[in-house]
């Protein structure tokens, strides 16, 4: 008796409660990202089965369905065996010694659990490999009150979707949290998920992975950069290789250049092991608005719409996924990652000539107007090429202002007049815009004054 008392006095209980764990885990991720996390798991399965060639994921499918009552994801990406499930897959965090999928994108060992808890209060996970099958079923509120950190096995029934001959994984969450049910039932959320998968998993879709969301098939998209056939205009590309003492090397590819004018698409794209982490990023962390600390001089301007044609793509690839610079939710870069820091300087170097060119382009349009700018005309005639089809290493090349053939020097005339008067002239001159009224009246008065 006395012994027990002493022991109780000595040991202070610091064990986390399960409820605390569930709440904490689910708070630091947006619902959309939690859905993507599950897709990432399927992609890792597909990566383990990849074949050679242009479309290594051909035949692999991921089906996602959600509504106000239920979330379901089903893939045919090989499944995982009951030993992996028992020892690793449901652990919170990745246990030491766990075998890793090479080039994986779901490396933190939290994605699936976080998504399950975030969506609802009841889940079933079923998986089949060619040799094994298993299922787990959990009532979360009940589980939270029980001692121990184990999930109960459930009986696996093979069906058309999953069996040893059709291996894969299915996750079904029901009894959804009310805020989740609300979102899952809206068209806006569905559109958002389709849009996110389309961009974040573009490389895998392009590689043959078939993804459907509520029955809707998602097409691949690519990032295009403008190239002129005569080599007067081409994106800058570079490849870097970082060796690490222990572990796997990291390969980095950087592409910078000019695309179509589209403010929402302009900026940096950061890709880790094929998964897009940042899209069209225009924050300081990717170089915009950089100020040199010592001298306080601006080394890179902040984003402005005149840079709506800027495209920068930086891809990191390593067999050891803990080496690539992403944060745990895969929504941003890990700025402290040494590979990122080394790459960042090169990104800025390569970005600068593109920004200078876009400033030149802006000046040229200012001087000649959009209709007569030789530089804009040149850029508009360039053809769009997929970023993955560009050469491995090349410098950014663009024509300098004034080197292109141009007509007589022009100047822009701008003035304001009462709307009624402009409307009157628009009608009298049968023109469609105020701008056309200005141009036509100028031409008329020029002729009348005897100009040639």
């Amino acid at each position: 008796m006395a012994d027990v008392q002493t022991q109780e006095k000595q040991q202070i209980n610091a064990e986390p409660t399960k409820t605390f764990f569930v709440e904490m885990l689910t708070r630091d991720i947006a619902l959309e990202q939690a859905v993507l996390d599950l897709v990432d798991n399927s992609v890792d399965g597909a990566k383990a089965l990849r074949s050679d060639g242009d479309r290594p994921f051909e035949g692999r499918e991921v089906q996602i369905e959600f509504s106000k009552d239920k979330f379901r994801i089903l893939d045919n990406c090989g499944g995982f065996d009951s030993e992996t499930a028992r020892a690793y897959a449901f652990r919170f965090g990745r246990p030491a010694g766990m075998p890793r999928t090479s080039h994986s994108i779901g490396q933190f060992g939290v994605g699936m659990k976080r998504a399950l808890f975030k969506f609802g209060h009841h889940f079933v996970v079923r998986s089949a490999t060619t040799a094994d099958t298993w299922a787990v079923e959990v009532q979360v509120p009940e589980w939270e009150t029980q001692d121990g950190w184990h999930f109960p096995w459930a009986e696996f029934q093979p069906d058309d979707d999953l069996s040893n001959s059709n291996p894969g994984t299915e996750i079904v969450v029901t009894d959804l949290r009310s805020e989740v049910a609300g979102k899952f039932s809206t068209k806006l959320f569905e559109n958002a998920i389709v849009g996110l998968i389309k961009s974040k998993h573009r490389e895998f879709i392009a590689g043959g992975l078939s993804i459907t969301v509520n029955g809707q098939h998602i097409d691949a998209t690519s990032l295009y950069l403008l190239v002129a056939e005569d080599e007067k205009f081409q994106p800058g590309t570079d490849e870097l290789l970082f060796k690490v003492e222990q572990g796997e090397d990291i390969r980095v590819r950087i592409v910078v250049g000019v695309g179509q004018s589209a403010p929402r698409e302009a900026g940096w794209y950061v890709i880790c092991n094929g998964r897009v982490i940042l899209e069209a990023d225009r924050r300081n962390s990717t170089g915009w608005g950089q100020v040199e600390e010592q001298s306080n001089s601006v080394i890179m301007p902040s984003y402005h719409n005149q840079y709506a044609r800027f495209r920068g793509i930086v891809s990191f690839d390593s067999a050891d996924s803990s080496r690539v610079p992403w944060n745990t939710t895969k929504t941003d870069i890990d700025q402290d990652n040494p590979t990122w820091q080394k790459t960042f300087g090169r990104m800025l170097e390569m970005m600068r000539p593109v920004i200078s060119f876009l400033n030149e382009l802006d000046n040229d349009i200012d001087e000649h107007t959009r209709d007569h700018s030789p530089l804009l005309d040149f850029v508009s005639k360039a053809k769009a090429v997929k970023s993955e089809d560009l050469p491995r290493r090349s410098a950014f090349i663009a024509p300098a202002r004034g080197t292109l053939h141009k007509g007589p020097k022009t100047v822009k005339v701008q003035y304001s007049k009462p709307i009624d008067q402009v409307d009157f002239l628009m009608k009298e001159l049968s023109t469609a815009s105020a701008k056309a009224v200005g141009e036509r009246t100028f031409e008329l008065i020029y002729q009348r004054m005897g100009g040639e």
């Binding site: 049910a181 609300g182 559109n191 589209a262 929402r264």
Partner: protein, 322 residues
């Protein structure tokens, strides 16, 4: 943007006239939710106030507010307004949050322009606050998306298409991923605009319902209308209701509205081109008893059908010549 009353003489818009009467029919059916004269009507009265006049005269609505952003036309509007209607000279985005939402509203946001982000934000403002029984009608122009003009003006080959610009403006969440370029023209653009209005309301209600301690709120579409007096226009009409009031919505019997096509599709208001004599000839035979057919004489069948479908709502025009 020139105020629309400078471009269009509202009194000469027969399809708009018919739509106004349809809305009046919807309004009349709201009895189960209380006396219709206790509703507050909120509209964009312009200088014509045609909807206000109709609702006041035929339903006795007295609480009315007109929203008018053309502050410059203030004197003319004050000179023209009937029935001492208060006019709020600000943008709808600013006025809507300040309405008295504890009372039932009948809102007709009759925008002259094609769908914009501001309009979608107005949908959210209303969906965030509307009480059970509040009716929302929204009209937008749908001749073609203005992004077509922008992409034509740009003229650089390979530049962003109208659809790129459209997605860029609204964001990819709002534009259904399967949207095709031709959906930015004409009635197809109308269909897309209506879908985007509905989904914005739905999204806001999903947020409202998951966080609010109050009863859930739903939105039930009543009908969709397409019409054209020069520019193509489209309208959605629907009612907000709490689950407890579902029975009241059923008692309104919106499905029995005279102008609704069977099966339910968007109502297309077509104004038949008929002479006064033909008008009278058809009117004398309507409404048709079951199995009966119209005696047409020389009247074209298509025009006669349009007339039979819409005659209760069409205006009677007379030209007075000395």
């Amino acid at each position: 943007m020139t105020a629309s009353f400078k471009r269009i003489d509202y009194s000469l818009r027969p399809a708009k006239h018919a739509e106004r009467r349809m809305l009046c029919d919807v309004f009349r059916r709201l009895r189960p939710f209380g006396r219709v004269e206790d509703y507050i009507y909120v509209g964009f009265g312009s200088i014509w106030f045609s909807d206000f006049t109709l609702l006041h005269r035929s339903l006795g609505i007295k609480n009315m507010i007109s929203i008018e952003h053309a502050e410059t036309a203030r004197d003319r509007i004050e000179d023209n307004k009937p029935f001492r209607i208060p006019v709020d000279y600000r943008k709808s985005t600013d006025v809507l949050p300040e309405l008295n939402w504890s009372r039932n509203q009948f809102l007709w946001l009759d925008y002259d322009d094609p769908l914009s982000v501001d309009m979608l934000l107005d949908m959210r403002t209303v969906a965030r606050r509307a009480g059970s029984g509040t009716v929302l009608a929204v009209s937008v122009q749908c001749t073609r998306a203005p992004q077509h003009a922008q992409s034509e003006q740009d003229r650089s080959p390979g530049g962003p298409t109208a659809l790129d610009r459209f997605v860029d403006l609204f964001g990819r969440e709002r534009v259904p991923p399967e949207t095709a370029a031709e959906q930015l023209y004409g009635w197809q653009f109308g269909t897309l605009s209506r879908a985007m209005l509905f989904q914005e309301i739905e999204a806001e209600l999903a947020t409202r319902n998951c966080t609010s301690p109050e009863p859930e709120m739903h939105f039930q579409p009543i009908c969709e209308i397409e019409y054209e007096d020069g520019a193509k226009m489209t309208t959605i009409i629907g009612i907000f209701f709490a689950p407890n009031d579902r029975g009241l919505v059923e008692q309104c019997h919106f499905e029995a509205l005279d102008f609704l096509p069977n099966p339910l599709t968007p109502v297309r208001i077509a104004v038949p081109k008929l002479t006064v004599r033909e008008f009278k000839k058809l009117e004398s035979q309507l409404p048709l008893a079951a199995g009966e057919e119209l005696q047409l004489g020389t009247i074209p069948l298509a025009e006669a059908r349009q007339f039979a479908d819409m005659y209760r709502y069409l205006p009677n025009f007379a030209v007075l010549e000395s």
